[in-house]
Symmetry: C2
Subunit: 322 residues, 2 copies
C-alpha cells in the first residue's frame, strides 16, 4: 500500500505532466498559474487513497484524481471573483493578476477540461462516475450560492448552516473518495460508505475551521484570529450563540456587531462564546460527525489495515491547531 507522500507525489507528477492548451495564452497561462500554486491536493490524494483501499493499481484513478483537482481549482478561480479576493495561497488571484473576464473564461475552461480528464478513465462505470461528478459539481455551486445568500440573510438556522457547508465543501470530499473506490471496482455499498465517510469528515473539518478562527493558537497565512468575528460572519459558533443568548446579552451582541474597535469586538464576542460554552458545543458537533465518519469507514468491507491510512489522514486533518 502507498503512503500519503507517495500518493501526493503521484498527483503532483500527474499535474505537472498535464497540458491544458496553449493558444490563446491569455486563456491558458492563468490555468497553468493556478494549477502550479500547489495546495494540499487533498481531494485527488483521497481519490487515490480510496482506490488503494481495494487495489494497488492506483494509477488507474490518476485521470479522475486530476479531474477532481482541476474542478476544485475551477471553483476557487470563480469564488475569488465573487469574493473579490486579492490573494489565494499567498499569491495573487487570477482575477487580480489578470482581470475578471480572463478569470471567468479560464475558470470555465478548467471546468470543461475536468470533464475531459474524467472521461480518460478506463472503467466500465463511466456513466455512474460522470453522473456523480456532475451532481457533485452542481451541489458545490448550490453551496456557494447559499454561502453568498447568508451574507444578506438576517437569520441562518443550524440546519441551514450544515446544509451549506455540506454542499460547498463536504460533498466533493465524499465524491473524491467514491470515485476512486468505483474505479477500483468496489461494491456499491463500500463506495457509498466511503462517500459518507468523506462527507462527514468534510463537515467536521469545516466546523473545526470555524472553531480555529476564534480559538486557534496562531494565525494561518492571510488570516488572523477572530477574522470571522470581525466580519460578523455567520459561522456555526455565531449561529449557536444567537440561538442560545439571553435577552440582555443579545443587546450586547448586537452592539458588538457594530462596534468599530475590532479588538474590543473580538474580545466581547469571545467572552459571550465562553459564557454560553459555544466552543464546547461546536466541538461536540464536530465529534458527532467524526464518529459518523468512523462508523462509515468501519462498514467498508476490507481488512482494517487497508483502511488505516484513511483513518490516519482524517485524524491528522483534525489535529490542526491553527
Amino acid at each position: 500500500m502507498y503512503t500519503y507522500p507517495e500518493l501526493l507525489h503521484l498527483v503532483n507528477q500527474k499535474i505537472s505532466e498535464t497540458t491544458f492548451g496553449s493558444n490563446p495564452k491569455e486563456l491558458y497561462d492563468p490555468i497553468s498559474y493556478m494549477m502550479s500554486l500547489g495546495g494540499k491536493r487533498l481531494r485527488p490524494v483521497l481519490t487515490l487513497m480510496a482506490h488503494n483501499v481495494f487495489s494497488d493499481e492506483v494509477h488507474k484513478s490518476l485521470d479522475a484524481a486530476l479531474a477532481i483537482e482541476v474542478f476544485h481549482n475551477f471553483t476557487l478561480v470563480h469564488d475569488d471573483i465573487m469574493d473579490n479576493a486579492p490573494l489565494r495561497r499567498g499569491k495573487e488571484t487570477i482575477f487580480q493578476k489578470w482581470n475578471m473576464p480572463v478569470a471567468i473564461l479560464s475558470g470555465d475552461l478548467m471546468l470543461i477540461r475536468s470533464i475531459d480528464f474524467l472521461a480518460r478513465t478506463e472503467t466500465s462505470q463511466f456513466t455512474t462516475l460522470l453522473a456523480l461528478f456532475n451532481d457533485t459539481a452542481a451541489k458545490v455551486c448550490e453551496g456557494q450560492q447559499l454561502d453568498m445568500n447568508f451574507e444578506s440573510q438576517s437569520q441562518v438556522s443550524h440546519n441551514e448552516y450544515i446544509e451549506m457547508i455540506t454542499l460547498k465543501t463536504a460533498v466533493l470530499l465524499g465524491a473524491s473518495l467514491e470515485i476512486g473506490a468505483r474505479i477500483a471496482n468496489a461494491s456499491n455499498e463500500d463506495a457509498k460508505h466511503l462517500y459518507e465517510f468523506g462527507k462527514c469528515i468534510g463537515i467536521a473539518f469545516q466546523i473545526q475551521d470555524d472553531i480555529l478562527d476564534s480559538f486557534g493558537e496562531k494565525a494561518e497565512i492571510g488570516k488572523r484570529i477572530g477574522g470571522d468575528i470581525a466580519s460578523n460572519k455567520k459561522t456555526l459558533l455565531l449561529i449557536e450563540l444567537l440561538s442560545s443568548v439571553h435577552k440582555d446579552d443579545l443587546k450586547l451582541l448586537q452592539s458588538l456587531f457594530v462596534e468599530p474597535n475590532t479588538d474590543a469586538k473580538i474580545e466581547g464576542v469571545l467572552a459571550l462564546y465562553k459564557k454560553y460554552q459555544i466552543k464546547e458545543f461546536a466541538e461536540s458537533q464536530k465529534q458527532q460527525y467524526l464518529d459518523l465518519a468512523h462508523h462509515h469507514l468501519n462498514e467498508v468491507s476490507v481488512s482494517p489495515e487497508r483502511k488505516q491510512l484513511l483513518f490516519n489522514t482524517a485524524h491528522e486533518l483534525m489535529e490542526r491547531v491553527s
Copy 2:
C-alpha cells in the same frame, strides 16, 4: 421528414419540460429566466435536422439538442458579464437583473447541466459525443478570448479574424449537426461532412453579420446600422480596408477612428468601404464559405430529398437583410 416548425416545436417543448433545479432559487431562477427568453433555437434544431437526415427517430437526439442549447445559453450568460451587456434578446441580462456573482454561478451550473443532458442520450457512441462536446466547448472559450484580445490588439489579420469567428461561433454549429448525425448512427464520413457544412455556414453567417451592420436595410432589436463602425470594431470589413487602404486614405481613416461626430464617422468609413469595394470583397468571402458548405452537404451519402431542409435552412439564414 420533419419541417423546421415541427422540429422547433419539439425543441421548445423539451426545454419547457426541463427542470434545472429549484433550491437555492437565487441560482435556479436566473437559469429558467434565461432559457425562457427564447431565441431562434437554431443549434438544437440543427441537431434534430441532422438526425433526420439519417433517421426519423429524431426524439433520440432531443437530450443532446437540449444540452447544446443550454451550453449555448451558458456562453451568453458569461459573455454578457464580460461585455458588460445590459440587454439580451431585448430583456435584461442575468448580470443586470441579478448581479455578477449570480451570473457567474448560474452560468457554471448551466455548463454542468448541459453535460448531464448530453449524458442522458442513449447511444453506443457516448465517448465520441462527449469528446466532441468538450472539444467544442473549449474552442468556444478560446474564440471568446481571441475576440476580447482583438479589442486591445493593434493589428488583426484576415486569418486571425476567420480563426476567431470559427472558434467563437462556427464550431458549435458544426458540432450541433455532427452530434445529431452520430446519434442517428451516421457513418464517420457523413458526420464529419455535416460538421464541416455547419462550420462553413457559421463562418458565412458571421461574415454576413459584419456586412449587415454596415449595409443592412434596417436596425435589429438593440442594434443600429454602423454600430461596429462607431465602436471601431475589428470586423472583416475594417480588417480588409486596413490591409488595402492607400497611404492618404489611411490618414483619413485614422482620423475617423477618433471622430467624435458618430454620423460623420459612419459616413466617412462607409465611403471608404465603397471606394475600396469592401462590401464586394466580404460578399465574395461569404460566398466562398457557402460554396464549401454546399460541397460538404453534397458529399453526405443520402438522397437529395433528405438533405433539402438543411440546404433550405442554410439558404434562409443567408437571406436576412438586417
